[in-house]
Structures are given as structure tokens and as C-alpha cells.
């Protein structure tokens, strides 16, 4: 059973349906007690880093996620949810993340070569840095996934699991022990995305 953490950001409808599509039961909740009973957790997120981090803190779910991760429960952050796993985010100011992974989230602006559009939006290929990563077991190097983001994680060499080429090597996925993160949206990435969610549900 997958618990999708609801802390008031974004539509969690597609995520829940995509787990159902791979035969895995999923529920959406903001209640730590209910989420504590899940076998694994998804930390979703859209919007701005600072707002989302504040909402997580206000709801007390930041501690809950940290404790669950420390106890070894599989956790996957998606999009902004992945970004929140890091120490800091620099989107409209400097904000504290969950600090579960080493690294920071920084703007693409100023980093990308001229002529590349921001946000990085569309289908891009995954290049594995951890080919043995359990969430990749059902997909291949070069498979395409769907991205929508203007900020990316850097300084995360110790957890970097896959990159996407967009003028620079963008962090596309991260993994360390039982903590995973996808910058892209597996729930919007067709069969490849579903295969990643399926693999996560078997971690």
C-alpha cells in the first residue's frame, strides 16, 4: 500500500490512478497515523520550493517524512517533492529542505546555454548514473520521461541516479538507500513512468 502525502500542494489524482494502473493500491492522506501504516511513501509537489517547504513544516509532516525515511521506509519524491529531499532550495530566496539528501536546488536560469527555453518542459531521455537502481529495473537507458521544471538539483553526486541532457546535465533522478526522487513526472510519462512506479512499489 502506497501512501501519497497530501500537504496541500497540487493535484494528486493522476498519481493515485497511476499506481492503481500498475495494480498497486494507493491512498492520499495528510494524516501521519494513516501514512505511517503505508508500506511506502510518495512525496509529491508542484509550485514553489519555499511555499511547499513551509506547508510541510506547518503540517508537521516534515518530521514525519524524516523519521519514516530514517526508519528505512521506501520514499519517493516527485518533481518538487524530489527537490524537497535536499538540504536547500534557492527559488525566490533561500529555503530549508528536508535534508535527506546532500545537495541544493538552484535555478536553470543563467546556467543553460543561450537559446534553450525555461522551463525545461517536454519529453527527454534518461541517462543512467546508477544503472542498477531498483526503480530502473523495468526500463532502459535512453527511455523518455516527461519533465516540467525551472529549477534543478546540484551538488548531489552521491545520490545522482540519472541525468537528462538539456545544454547541461540536469539531475533527473536520485537514489540513496531507500530514498528515491524523480525530477520528471512518472505519472505523466506513459508506460515508462508506470514501469518506474511499479518498480518502486516492489522496492
Amino acid at each position: 500500500m502506497v501512501g501519497i502525502i497530501d500537504y496541500g500542494v497540487g493535484n494528486l489524482f493522476s498519481l493515485r490512478s497511476s499506481f492503481e494502473a500498475v495494480g498497486e493500491q494507493a491512498f492520499v492522506s495528510g494524516d501521519p497515523e494513516a501514512l505511517g501504516r503505508a508500506d511506502r511513501l510518495i512525496l509529491p509537489g508542484v509550485g514553489a520550493f519555499g511555499d511547499a517547504a513551509a506547508k510541510l513544516r506547518e503540517s508537521g509532516l516534515d518530521r514525519f517524512v524524516q523519521e519514516q525515511a530514517a526508519a528505512g521506509k521506501p520514499l519517493m519524491g516527485i518533481c518538487l517533492g524530489m527537490q524537497l529531499l535536499f538540504e536547500k532550495g534557492y527559488e525566490y530566496g533561500e529555503h530549508e529542505g528536508l535534508g535527506l539528501l546532500r545537495g541544493a536546488v538552484v535555478p536553470m536560469k543563467g546556467v543553460l546555454p543561450a537559446g534553450l527555453k525555461i522551463p525545461h518542459i517536454g519529453w527527454n531521455a534518461l541517462h543512467f548514473r546508477q544503472p542498477e537502481c531498483p526503480i530502473f529495473k523495468n526500463i532502459r537507458e535512453g527511455d523518455h520521461v516527461y519533465f516540467v521544471h525551472s529549477f534543478y538539483a546540484e551538488g548531489c553526486a552521491d545520490s545522482l541516479a540519472a541525468t537528462a541532457e538539456y545544454g547541461v546535465e540536469l539531475t533527473a533522478a536520485v537514489a540513496r538507500e531507500r530514498i528515491f526522487g524523480c525530477q520528471f513526472h512518472p505519472e505523466k510519462s506513459g508506460p515508462v513512468g508506470l514501469a518506474i512506479l511499479k518498480a518502486f512499489s516492489e522496492v
Binding site: N11, S17, P119, I121, G122, H144, K188, S189
Partner: protein, 252 residues
């Protein structure tokens, strides 16, 4: 790198896909859910659902259908048609849309795009614009292409992008339905004017028209079409194979 996108567009009225569809192997050829799944399975990179109903009651049917589509399909969904207020944005996003396309609503209410971009982010707001040449000038047409607003199109598009439209669907009335290829001249003018993704619409008749589009205008990000896909004149897996053979980066 980001791939070029191929986007089928489905017009929905009273919960059914209209304009006719001609596929074998589908039990219900006008079911938005079945067709959406068909396109998603055969490699469409995104789907556009266009609500062409008028009454509030019919609008309710559309949103019910949308929910069902969103439950079944795991690629990005854009919804347009009759979007005039932030409440309209809210209504379709809650049903599972990822992006919302505004056309006439942006003309009658220029505050709509900035308000929606502020609330949902630029990436969620798509400007759809119907353009036709009038005495050699690109003019914006409203009401499904029936009414000349007199607004000059390139400056209108630039204005909307500066105000938060994250993507532009450019539909050329001049080439629409002719099947003689996309309006490359008009697309070039627009893609040179803005730095957000531009989606070409209107005029595709065969796979080679998509090859020409992406070869001649590398700045254009996607090609959108309706009837040529619905009638099987162009099949998406084959189209993508042809694009790939022509060294155009696509998701296979």
C-alpha cells in the same frame, strides 16, 4: 534533448468525440476515453481535449468525461474550449488536466492569462490563437475563427507570453483544412517573436508536412492535428518512425 511532440486534438461534444473518427479495432470510435487510450498507447506525446459544447449542463458532462480520461491516460492532458474565468481553470485542473488552453477568453478578458499564470504557473497556461492574413497582416480571429478582432497577431502573442502564457498553439486559418502543409511563414514569424514553446496547428496532410515543419523551423516544438490522425491518414507510430529517419528527435 527535448523531443519534438506530436499532439492529437479531440473535439468533444455531449461526451462524444465529434468530426468523425475512422479506426478499426476500437469498439466505440467516439468515446473520448477509448480514443484517448488509443492515442496514448500508440505514442502520442500529449492529448488536447477541446470542449465544443455551449450549455452549462453539457459542460458538466465534459468534466465527467475528462475525469475518466485522466484516470485512464498517463501522458500530459491539455484542455480547452470555453475557458473564460479562473473558475474554469480550476474546474478542469481538478478533473486532471495538466494544462489549460485559452483562446477567445483571453481576448475578452486580458486579465485572465496573468491571473491564471500567477495562480497555477506559466507552464499551465496555453495561449491558443486562430490567425488569418487580412490584407497582408496577421489578424487574430475569435469565436472559433469566425470573427476578425482586428488585433495584430504577433504583438498579441508576445503580449500574452509576457503576461504568463507558457506555450502558444498557433492555428493558421489560412492553411487549416487544406492539407497542404503547415503555415511555415506564419509559424516562423511567431516562433521568432517568443521564447516559449510554439505548437503548429492547421494544414498537416501527411507525414512529410511534419518533417518539413521541424526541418525548416527547428524552433517549433510540436505539431498538432485532428482529422488526419482520426481518419488514419497519418498514423502516429509511422509518423514518428519517418521523423526519426529524418534525424528529428522524437520519443519512440
Amino acid at each position: 534533448m527535448i523531443t519534438k511532440r506530436i499532439i492529437p486534438c479531440l473535439d468533444v461534444k455531449n461526451g462524444r468525440v465529434v468530426k468523425g473518427v475512422n479506426f478499426q479495432g476500437l469498439s466505440d470510435v467516439s468515446s473520448p476515453v477509448e480514443l484517448g487510450k488509443y492515442y496514448s498507447d500508440c505514442g502520442a506525446d500529449e492529448l488536447v481535449f477541446y470542449d465544443i459544447t455551449a450549455s452549462a449542463e453539457e459542460r458538466g458532462i465534459f468534466t465527467d468525461i475528462l475525469k475518466e480520461v485522466a484516470r485512464t491516460i498517463f501522458i500530459p492532458l491539455t484542455v480547452g474550449g470555453g475557458i473564460r474565468t479562473l473558475e474554469d481553470f480550476d474546474r478542469v485542473l481538478k478533473c486532471g488536466a495538466d494544462k489549460v488552453s485559452v483562446n477567445s477568453g483571453a481576448i475578452s478578458n486580458p486579465g485572465l492569462i496573468p491571473a491564471a499564470a500567477k495562480r497555477y504557473g506559466d507552464q499551465c497556461v496555453v495561449l491558443s490563437v486562430d490567425v488569418k492574413r487580412v490584407d497582408g497582416v496577421y489578424r487574430v480571429f475569435a469565436r472559433g475563427g469566425r470573427e476578425n478582432t482586428g488585433i495584430e497577431a504577433v504583438s498579441w502573442i508576445r503580449f500574452c507570453v509576457e503576461n504568463g502564457a507558457g506555450e502558444v498553439v498557433l492555428n493558421s486559418i489560412d492553411t487549416d483544412g487544406v492539407k497542404g502543409g503547415f503555415d511555415l511563414e506564419m509559424l516562423e514569424a511567431v516562433s521568432n517573436a517568443v521564447a516559449v514553446p510554439v505548437i503548429a496547428s492547421g494544414g498537416a496532410g501527411c507525414a512529410e508536412d511534419f518533417v518539413a515543419l521541424f526541418k525548416k523551423l527547428p524552433k517549433v516544438d510540436a505539431g498538432l492535428a485532428a482529422s488526419i490522425f482520426h481518419f488514419g491518414e497519418v498514423r502516429i507510430p509511422e509518423l514518428k518512425r519517418i521523423l526519426k529517419e529524418n534525424n528529428i528527435n522524437v520519443r519512440i
